[in-house]
Structure formats: C-alpha cells, structure tokens
C-alpha cells in the first residue's frame, strides 16, 4: 500500500479526495427499477424516458405526439412509440456498531463508516435513495432512504456520531428493520459478521422480506493473523470482557484454521443464496476496496 492510497482520516475527506473516481461508479442492482420514480435506472415498465422500448397500436385517447408518422406513411396504420420508464433504487445501509467493531489497530468501525460513506455517495450520485441504520442487538439510529445532497450531509453526520456499543444480534436487528422499513431495495450489511445467533436465518429473513442483500464483511488484520504471546489470557471485547482461554501456539494455529473455515462458510452461504459478498480488512487502501467491490459485482463502472 502506498501513501497515496491510504484512506483519509474522515469520511468527508475521503469523499472529497475520491469524488471523481466514485462519480464513475454505480451500484449494480439485480432488480432494476423496482420502484418507479425519478431515478436513472431503467424501469421494468414503459415510461417517459428517452430510451426506446417498443411499438403498439394507437388507441383512442393516446397522445398523438408519440405516433410514428414514418410507419404510418409506409403502412397507413397508426403505431405509437413507447419508451422505457425511469426507476430508482432504495439503498439501505445497515452498519454494525457492536463492540467488536471497535477492535483493531485501525478500528473496523472507522473503516466500515468510510465504506458506508462511499456507498452513500455512489448511490446518491445516481439519484438513488440512500438510508443508513446503525445496529448491534437492536437498531440504534435510523435515517430512512432519501435522495439528494441534503441526505448526504445527514448520512455523514450520522456516521460521525455513531460509536460502538452492545453485542451484535443479527436476527433481532434485521427482524426489527424489516418490520419498520416501508421500502425495499438494495440492503448493504457492513459488519464483521461475528454474531452469536445464526446469521443464516437473519440474512434469509432480509431476502425473504424483499431486500436485495449485499454482505460486506469488515475484519481487522489482527483477526486474521493474531500475534499473541504464549500464556496470554483472552478477553472478549463484545461481551463485557468475558474471560476466554489461555493462548498457546497450537490454539493460535487452530484459530487461524477456524477463522478461514468460518469465512469460507459465510462466503459459500452468500453465494448459495445469491448475496454478493466481499471481505475486507481495515488496512485496505482505496484502490483495493474498489477492486474488491468491482470484482464482486457490487459496483459497476460506467
């Protein structure tokens, strides 16, 4: 990683620095135009965009401005030109702010906030509605999806004041969110995915409720390659300093294996369910983040 690519300290600086790059990005939705509106996405129905969709026979009462007179000249029949409708996507950002997210020499929560800011900027710049909710075992703060520059300010303000607390409970948090959310669309979960309950059921619950789930996992480098002195006693940051086992060389080796296995299981689950999944570490540079998001097909470059 070079100094050039090091992420700035705050989300605002990040957006200022990489605005041009982010302007060329777009969130790729698998269900385009799910909600008709003023968005830039093609809708599933016909509408009033400039993009041609089809012809149909003229009926009484149709707007004569859309009659294709060239066809009338050849066929002596009136046909009407139809255009694709414009649609918008609601982007729901769910940011895990449980205690475990404060772990790491470069805390995972700071990194996740920057990711959320990037998602927000990219969504809002494409006229999508973007909302942000922070959660641990319950929902902490909810900013419903909206469009516009004002929403970006609100999103950044909420990100700045968010801090870690509580233990994560995906099942409870997601259930509450689906009940409270009136719109559906893309739902990006930014979390380390260390949850005591069954994360599979929680993610399926979101998908069943109509959300297009995207999982962005944030880890600290120390979680992947722990450097622990033998005889060290572990304490749990998430669950009120719960005492854990005493470390030895064998335990560390087995942890690394277990960690890889857990990541593989999570990745395989997401693939099976059709959830785009990307794993990041808080030490990644901007370029590396971009590459991973593009490779996962979560973002596309226009």
């Amino acid at each position: 990683m070079t100094a050039h690519n090091t992420l700035p300290a705050s989300s605002r600086e990040l957006l200022q620095k990489y605005a041009r790059t982010l302007d060329r990005m777009e969130l790729q939705s698998r269900a385009p135009g799910s909600s008709p509106g003023m968005g830039r996405r093609p809708g599933t129905t016909t509408g009033y965009s400039v993009e041609f969709a089809d012809y149909r026979k003229y009926n009484y009462g149709d707007d004569i401005r859309y009659i294709d007179w060239n066809i009338y000249a050849r066929l002596r029949k009136l046909f009407l030109r139809q255009f694709k409708a414009e649609a918008e996507v609601a982007v729901h950002l769910l940011l895990d702010t449980s205690n475990s997210m404060s772990y790491g020499s470069s805390p995972k929560l700071h990194f996740a906030k920057k990711l959320a800011a990037m998602f927000s900027y990219v969504g809002l710049s494409k006229q999508d509605r973007v909302g942000l909710t922070t959660f641990s075992d319950h929902l902490h703060a909810i900013l419903p999806p909206k469009r516009g520059r004002q929403q970006l300010s609100h999103l950044l303000a909420l990100l700045e004041k968010s801090s870690s607390s509580g233990a994560s409970d995906f099942g409870q948090a997601f259930k509450t969110y689906t009940a409270r959310s009136t719109s559906r669309g893309m739902l990006v979960v930014l979390s380390d995915c260390f949850c005591s309950d069954n994360y599979r059921e929680a993610f399926r619950c979101l998908a069943f409720s109509g959300f297009e789930v995207i999982v962005v996992r944030v880890l600290a480098p120390e979680e992947l390659l722990p450097e622990l002195e033998e005889g060290t006693e572990l304490r749990d940051l998430e669950h009120n300093h719960l005492r854990g086992p005493v470390v030895n060389e064998e335990l560390v080796a087995r942890y690394q294996k277990r960690m890889r296995k857990y990541s593989d299981e999570l990745s395989a689950f997401c693939m099976r369910e059709g959830f785009p999944y990307v794993e990041t570490t808080s030490s990644l540079s901007f370029d590396e983040i971009m590459i991973r998001l593009l490779e996962a097909g979560i973002w596309i470059k226009k």
């Binding site: 005889g231 940051l237 470390v247 087995r254």
Partner: protein, 612 residues
C-alpha cells in the same frame, strides 16, 4: 537403585514451588473482538483432550519439572546396580588417635594404616558402598562407592592423625548405627591394637576384620603437668609433673621445665620399666607465662614428650565501697592476689562500677540500678530495703548448705552476732547461713554474674576475730570470680574447654589460633567460650576485644601414651569367601543426570524463546 545422598531429595519440594509459581503467575491479557471462534476451538480441544495434548500444551512447565527432577536426582547421587549379584557395604574405620603417631621402624603407624586402607580400597568392587570413618575425637564419616576410588584415595591421603584419644569401640558402634541395614556389611578396623577389639555380639551377621598396625611399646610420656597451690604457702603455687615409662626397658633422659623460655628446673631422670616419677617445684611468686615441660627421650612417640600449662594469675580487681571498715580493708589488702580499690559511698557511681572490676563489695549502703557484675553486698541489697525487723544476740549460725564452696574450711558455729537483719530472698537465692532460722548469707547466680548477700555488719559480729573471716572472704571472692578450667588453663586433646572471657564484647570478632596456625572464629555466649577444636597439643591463643588469652592442650592420656598393643592378631580378609566372583557393578548416574539437565535446560530455553 539406592541414593548415596538421600537427604538431597528434600530439594524435590522445589517442584511444588515451581507449580505454585506457575499457577499463581499473573497472566497477560489480550482483547479480541469476539471469543466465539476461540471458544469453539477450546471446546473441540476439551472433547479431544488426551494426555498427549495436555503434555503438548504444557511443554514448558513439563520441561521445567523434568529439569528440576534431574538436578534433584543428581544431587541425591543415585547408585544403579547394572548387573550381577548383591553389593557389599564396607565400613572402613581408620584409627586417627594420638597413639597412631608412634613410629614403627621409623614409619608412623598412621602411614602404615593408610597403606592398608588404600589396599582395601583397590580391592573394592564398583558396586560396593564404602563408608570411610576417621576415628578421631570428633568422628568423621564419608560415603563413597567403589567406582570413586580416586576420591577415596584423595580422602585417605589428606587424612592425618590427631593428638587426642579415641574410643574405637564407641566409634564402631556409632558408625554401625548409621547404617540403614546390616546385611552384607563388612567392617574393617585399622588400628594399632592398643585397645581391646569392639564387641558386636548383637550383630552376628556383620563381618568384623581387624588390621593391627602396632608392634612396639617403647614410650616414655609426661603423663601429667598441672599447677597447684603450695600447701605451705597460701599465696604461692607449684608445678606438678608426672613422668611415666610405659616401655619394657630402662630409660635415662634429661627433663626440663621452662617458664617463658627460662629454665625452671632441669635434671636427668632414670626410669625403670613401668616406673613413674613425680616432680614438684615452686613457681616464683606472681609469675605468669607459659610452662613448658619436656623430656628428651628416645622413644617411639613424640607428642607426649612435652606438655604445656598457662600461668595466668592476674590479680583480682576488687572495688570496696565503704564508709570505713578496718577489718574488711585489712583482710583484702593482705591478700596479694587482690588489687583493691577503696571508695567512699558517695564516690561509688555507676561510671566507676563499669570499669571492669572482677568483684564489687558494697558495705552498708545501697545503689539503685547496679550495672551487671559480681557483687558482695553487705547489708546493702540493691532495690530493696534492709530495714526489716532486726535480730538480736544470735549465739550461733547454722548452714543449710555446708558443702557450698563459700563455706569451705569455715565453721559457722563459732560465730556470734550482736545484731543482724534477715535477708529478703529472691527465688534464685541459695541460703548459705542462717541465724535463728532467718537467712543471713545468701548466694545468687544469674547468667555469668554472681552475687553474695550478707545480712549483718561484720563489726557487729565475732567474725573478724576468728580465723574463719579471711577464709570466708577469700571463698566469697573466689566464688564470685572463679578460675577457668582449673589452674594452668589446660585441657586434654580432643576435649572441649570452657573459658570465661572477662570484658568480652560480642560485637567484636573472637578468633582462636591453634598451635599449627589454624584460625577458628567463635562466639562466647554470655562471656563463656566453649571450644572443641582441640585435636592438636600445644598452646592455643584466643584473640578478642583487644585482649589475648591462652590455654594449653596436652595429650594427658595414659591409654594413648601406653602404645604397646594389647592385641596384635590381624584378621584381614579383604574378600569374603562366599562372595560371588561376578559381583554387581554399581554405577553412579549423577553425571548422566547432570548432562540430561543441561540438555533439558537448553531445550527449555529454546522452547521459551520460541514461545516468547
């Protein structure tokens, strides 16, 4: 497997200390984001737990325990019998008494004994356990194995004969009692045969072999040298010397006594076989120094041809505090062994008392808080009133302890009193004299200090007019400051001596220098020195608190001077006839254990560095 130093196994307690430290060691803490994965792993480990896993997990601790165990075992010196039959225990007792310094054809008996002992050692098997006993006044025992021949040879070569007397029978009994079991035990006693062989009837299974070195009996000895009072002059002393011919031939030899190098007496003595002669001569009045008696006889033993005594007759310093007592002052002044200081009662201060007087006499007055010392209190008990009810016209005194040294040569029956005050007694007071049933003279001994209390003024009695008065006074002062180990400050070689050290300061070093120049540091509890390292004859010097005191050590043992063997039969069987030809080979394993501990230490260090 047996242990040559089983006491070292007590160091195994250090393993417990190690475990205690291990489990009480404060652990470092490290925060992790979530314990879920760690706990899953630990749970799996618990399910698959095996001894191997436990060992693997605690490798460092196990290495440390093994390291300690190896060191403790090495210290305990395990002996492993590799093959073959049973091993023997050889108890090798070498006589180191004074009679072993006698010459046999120009060679000291002890050298001959040493050669015999070395021969026995060479014949020992590796599996044999060898107990080498030096039969000295203070017995010395070392344990070896047959494989340690070099160490035993070195021990034998550094061994020397003492100038003290030894009871071989007692040494054998003590050495045998130190054995764990008496099976396969063979005792070899190498001595000169001057003592009857010890009886071990209670241990019939023990083989006892005696190797007698002594043959000759040609010896003339100074059997006794002592200082005594002159029976014709109370204040003069005499030297008494007894010379005895233990040999079977006549001896004519010169005899001299020197006092600090000055000849006191010199004469030629002729002694028939088994004859002794006593020589007595006066010592000049007030003379001090070292008496050295020497005979120039051509005999087999040298150390009893001379004897020493120390004349240390310093005047006894006495402080008399009185407002005027002619009888008392005169009686003390006429005694040439007393350096008297007379003070008025008002001059008797604690500062004056603290000037190191051997005895202090307070006549008829009190002083509160008397400093520690020897006191003769005449109607002046400190801290206690003497105003009890007075007794009048006591016609006779009686004594509940007529054998007390204070009453030696004193007949109290003839003493009459005009008036007296009964003594207030403490539990430690011993009543010496009573009048009409009331205590009038008592003695008290507390630690090294003594006190005598008299309940009447001697001027109110007939005591000064009787011959008993100076005797009683002399007895009292003699009891207050007794002489050390008898006149001449001497003791027998190998015996402990007990000496009072005046003005001893415990905060300063006390060093005893032996005749051969060795120094011993010692302490004198309560001002009394007990010293037992007296295996050499000659003059010993005690240096303490800028003072010097000497004492003499002489052989003074007729049994040692009489070097003629009572038994010359040698029963020497280095090899037991029923002993199997292929005896087991014992091997000490402490070297291997030490090597193993070094390897374990290296392994532990490597493991520790790896873990860190």
């Amino acid at each position: 497997m047996t242990f040559l130093n089983p006491l070292a196994l007590i160091y195994a307690l250090s393993i417990g200390v190690l475990l205690l430290l291990h489990f009480r060691k404060p652990k470092k803490m490290h925060w992790v984001s979530d314990l879920q994965l760690w706990q899953d792993i630990e749970q799996e480990s618990m399910q698959r737990k095996s001894i191997f896993r436990i060992i693997k997990r605690n490798r460092l601790l196990i290495l440390q325990i093994l390291l300690l165990a190896a060191i403790v075992l090495a210290l305990a010196r395990p002996l492993i019998t590799l093959w073959g039959g049973p091993s023997r225990t050889l108890l090798l007792i070498v006589d180191c008494s004074a009679s072993m310094t006698a010459l046999e054809d120009g060679i000291p008996r002890f050298e001959l004994a040493r050669e015999k002992a070395l021969d026995l050692i060479e014949d020992a098997h590796n599996a044999d356990k060898i107990l080498l006993v030096q039969a000295r006044p203070r017995m010395n025992l070392h344990t070896y194995t047959g494989s340690e021949k070099a160490a035993i040879r070195e021990a034998l070569n550094t061994m020397t004969a003492t100038h003290g007397s030894v009871d071989i029978g007692r040494i054998v009994t003590t050495a045998v009692s130190s054995l764990e079991n008496t099976e396969s035990v063979e005792i070899y006693i190498i001595d000169d045969g001057t003592q009857a062989p010890p009886s071990l009837n209670t241990l019939p299974e023990v083989e006892v072999h005696t190797i007698r070195i002594g043959k000759t009996g040609d010896n003339v000895a100074i059997a006794n040298l002592s200082i005594r009072e002159n029976p014709f002059s109370a204040h003069d002393r005499q030297v008494f010397c007894e010379i005895e011919n233990f040999s079977d031939r006549e001896h004519i030899f010169p005899f001299d006594i020197f006092l600090d190098g000055t000849v006191l007496i010199t004469e030629t003595i002729r002694l028939n076989p088994k004859q002794s002669e006593r020589i007595v001569t006066d010592i000049p009045a007030g003379a001090n120094g070292i008496l050295h008696a020497v005979i120039n006889s051509e005999d087999a033993m040298e150390i009893d041809n001379e004897a020493f005594a120390v004349l240390d007759s310093h005047a006894m310093s006495v402080l008399l505090g009185t407002s005027g007592n002619l009888f008392l002052e005169k009686a003390l002044q006429v005694n040439p062994r007393i350096a008297l200081t007379v003070l008025k009662p008002e001059e008797c201060t604690s500062e004056r008392f603290g000037r190191g007087y051997d005895a202090i006499i307070l006549d008829g007055f009190q002083r509160p808080d008397l400093p520690p010392g020897n006191y003769f209190l005449i109607r002046s008990e400190s801290g206690r009133t003497t105003g009890g009810s007075s007794l009048r016209a006591i016609r006779s005194l009686t004594s509940p302890r007529p054998e007390h040294p204070i009453l030696a040569f004193v007949d109290p029956a003839g003493i009459t009193l005009d008036r007296a005050t009964p003594l207030d007694l403490t539990p430690s007071d011993a009543v010496i004299l009573e009048g009409n049933g009331y205590p009038l003279l008592a003695a008290n001994e507390t630690g090294i200090y003594r006190t005598v209390k008299l309940g009447f003024d001697i001027r109110d009695s007939s005591l000064p007019l009787t011959y008993a008065f100076p005797v009683l006074l002399s007895n009292i002062l003699g009891w207050l400051e007794p002489e050390d180990s008898g006149p001449g400050n001497q003791t027998a070689a190998g015996s402990a001596i007990r000496l009072r050290l005046p003005a001893y300061d415990a905060s300063k070093d006390l060093v005893v220098v032996t005749p051969d120049g060795k120094t011993f540091r010692a302490t004198a509890g309560k001002g009394i020195l007990s010293f037992a390292e007296t295996e050499s004859t000659g003059i010993y010097t005690i240096r303490y608190s800028r003072a010097i005191k000497r004492f003499a050590v002489n052989l003074s043992s007729r049994s040692e001077s009489n070097i003629k063997p009572v038994d010359t039969v040698t029963d020497e069987h280095p090899h037991s006839p029923d002993r199997p030809a292929t005896a087991g080979t014992g091997r000490e394993t402490w070297r291997w254990l030490l090597l193993a501990s070094l390897l374990l230490l290296a392994l532990e260090w490597r493991r520790y560095q790896g873990a860190a």
